[in-house]
Symmetry: C2
Subunit: 476 residues, 2 copies
């Protein structure tokens, strides 16, 4: 929200420069390029070039995320801090001169850990760094104490007889793989959700899991466990890598007792909400291109990369489009969802409230602030030329074209299920899980250059989707 | 303490191999090498080659530090955990078959932070990650709250009028430089000790300093402040880098209020002690080559690199010498000092108790577990050829020869002052202050390969100093 004059000046400058350097038709009508990309107009090409260049010089996104983490900071779903974030977001969106700004309220089950402590009590006494898993119940007052039983992975726990588990604290020591696309997360996160129900069925007292993360630092990674939906009621926590190592070394030596003390604040019907803003389409205002990110965060860190960065990226991209001489034909809608982290409540509430809206395409930025390296779609086959046309304008940003199996992101998941086309502007996530859901998710982990590249890609995608009459669905 | 058979086998093997490859006299009598290095015997050369090779294949040091951090963990000076570390150390030294193993007890002023909390309370509410500085008094019960006043460095605080400071919490935002030899520490650490007395003289209520460290992670770096000796009684704490950034951003925007709550457990005459063991010299047992490290640690981390690594390095080096067919002529003494972190009490107690011993040379390993890159001495000028002779045997380990201004290390500081020659086996400390005095000082930060190189260098140095009749002092 600062440096507005600078950004506008850069926009004007970039417009002139790129129009001179790059003839508008060179990309759109290349007869040798199989398979075909849908053509765009010369005016659209000039606009895309302006947007891309302006974004790469813009501090808009940086200023937004800097402001969010400075003035609000962590904002747990349903908390007073999340409410402050909504107030902040509405003001920020007004300052950026969007229209139709509002908060759509809903309520959620609230969960917060007001105490989360664990220590080895025998054969040595050592404090551990842990994070209670979202939804974990409290331990009995004062904590519980038991011998641990270590399993290298979930499969080993599943295979274990109840007699090996009963009355003990289960410790799942599975590690996560570092991958560019974050695909290691799915495999590693299974233990976070499944440890408690499986361990409970075998008579365990609690669950500890090696943090779902890729860093070597003394942070525990927070995260929701899905056990509540499976009827489990076992206290569960993630331990830092060094403490998981310690438990593994101690367990290899002999019986190891651990004390776990979790105190959870659990309430029903806590307030949350989605903050929404628009650039109203000049020709087809009922048709919506949805750009999403989530406003809430876990509360150990600042929520900078998860998902302050996403909030900043989609807002800055829309702002650059808003500053164009002509609004796009379709409406661009920003969804800053509430309560994503503890159950994607905002995305679900949005899908319910807007089931009858005409969503042309939807996408969420929620994978940190790394450079975008891949564009994926989930379009009807007949719409593939539109995907290629968009990708052609993303390629100068170093972005490759992926397949047609995009997920779109958590908060547009219900829309996707309902048939709304989605895309992924896939970020390089090699280091994302170093910081994800830890105290170390702070502003300094965002690279301003990579952030600008994200804004450029989102602006190009959103503009082309909104200024066209393309349908990404199967024709009827 | 494991893999003993392996280490001995490697030693035997290495002995044969190196004797074949490297004629014993080639290094010792090179007439072209100015300036001259003192000669060593062929037998000594063979032994040095054996030691070096055996150390580079040995897991002795790794097993020692792994055992210490697993079975004891953090061991704050004067605490029950430090007492457990002494018990552990005596048993470990017995297992390694040293002689004259004993604990020399002394008492210290005890300090522990049982509560250390800070948060921004206006214009936003955000929790911060801090560490009370060693010696800090408690805040008034429930904490104190005041506006912060930021200074970029200590000089700015010194220059400020009292009116700018009175009734406020001083925040020194100085950063530390990353250097190989750790020289950035001295400059950066000044603020840790001097903030409180200077701020108190100007009427401040408390001191916050940007952590003395080089990492970008959400850890506060512990450390003693020297303010007690300067008569100050101001609560003082270090804040993590991300929280220092937050304070700086908020201070740039306007008045910022912080709540600080420190509860310190301060006691007199807490028990500590030095654990000592020896390899008794076969010809001149009264002459002592002293290898030091410290047994205590700060208590947020595991005390792995500070100074579990040092304990492991000097002990493993001595153990390799102990396993030689012949003991060296002089006595090698291991000093595992207590209570270094909160005032070098162990080093002082040792110097008092052993003022009349004949110390030939002394050195401490207390700069982590990075590779040794430089050998420095503090010898009489006449002893320079001995320093060069030692260095010549260290050079195959990639170690350069530095100047004659070695410090020796904190726990041999009083000996140095009393005229005992010292050396520095200087470790690469580029990343040392990433972990130093944080929760992140854990076993996984030690590179086993670098640890072996350390052991090799210490074994070579200690053997040559102990098996010679060299004097490193000015001749009388």
């Amino acid at each position: 929200m600062r440096n507005l004059a600078l950004a506008l000046a850069a926009l004007a400058l970039a417009s002139t420069a790129s129009a001179q350097q790059q003839p508008a038709t060179s990309v759109a009508v290349n007869p040798q390029a199989p398979p075909a990309a849908a053509p765009i107009s010369a005016e659209q090409q000039r606009t895309v070039d302006r947007l891309r260049a302006a974004a790469l010089e813009s501090d808009l996104a940086w200023n937004i995320v800097e402001d969010l983490v400075t003035e609000v900071g962590p904002r747990l779903a349903g908390s007073e801090a999340e409410a402050r974030a909504r107030v902040w977001a509405e003001a920020m969106l007004r300052e950026n001169r969007f229209t139709n700004i509002r908060t759509e309220a809903f309520t959620i089950p609230y969960w917060d850990a007001v105490r989360e402590e664990a220590s080895v009590v025998a054969p040595t006494q050592q404090h551990m760094v842990i994070a209670a898993l979202g939804g974990s119940p409290s331990t009995p007052a004062g904590g519980l104490e038991a011998e641990i039983v270590r399993f290298p992975d979930m499969a080993a726990l599943e295979a274990a007889p109840a007699s090996a588990v009963q009355g003990r604290i289960v410790f799942i020591d599975e590690r996560m793989q570092r991958t560019q696309d974050g695909s290691g997360y799915g495999a590693a996160v299974a233990k976070r959700g499944r440890c408690a129900p499986v361990a409970q069925a075998k008579g365990a007292l609690a669950c500890l899991v090696r943090s779902v993360g890729t860093d070597p630092h003394r942070f525990a990674h927070q995260g929701g466990s899905s056990r509540q939906s499976q009827g489990a009621s076992l206290p569960a926590a993630a331990v830092s890598p060094a403490d998981a190592d310690l438990l593994a070394r101690l367990a290899a030596r002999g019986p190891t007792r651990v004390r776990l003390n979790i105190e959870a604040d659990i309430r029903e019907n806590a307030p949350s909400g989605n903050v929404i803003a628009e650039i109203r389409g000049r020709e087809r205002p009922q048709e919506v291109v949805l750009l999403a990110a989530h406003l809430d965060s876990w509360d150990m860190g600042q929520g900078a990369i998860d998902d302050g960065a996403g909030v900043a990226i989609v807002t800055a991209a829309a702002r650059l489009i808003r500053d164009l001489p002509h609004r796009p034909r379709r409406t661009i809608r920003i969804l800053l969802a509430g309560a994503e982290e503890n159950g994607v409540h905002g995305g679900a509430a949005y899908a319910r409230a807007h089931a009858d809206d005409t969503h042309i395409v939807a996408a969420e930025s929620d994978f940190g602030a790394g450079r975008i390296y891949r564009f994926r779609t989930r379009f009807a086959d007949s719409a593939a030329p539109y995907g290629r046309a968009i990708h052609r304008q993303l390629a100068p940003l170093g972005i490759i074209l992926g397949d047609n199996s995009a997920s779109g992101g958590a908060d547009v998941g219900d829309l996707r299920t309902a048939g709304v086309p989605v895309v992924d502007l896939g970020q390089d996530g090699l280091d994302y899980f170093d910081y994800h859901h830890t105290a170390d998710d702070t502003l300094d982990k965002i690279d301003p250059e990579a952030l600008r590249q994200n804004v450029a890609a989102w602006a190009v995608f959103a503009y082309l989707a909104a200024d066209s009459d393309w349908s990404f669905r199967a024709s009827e």
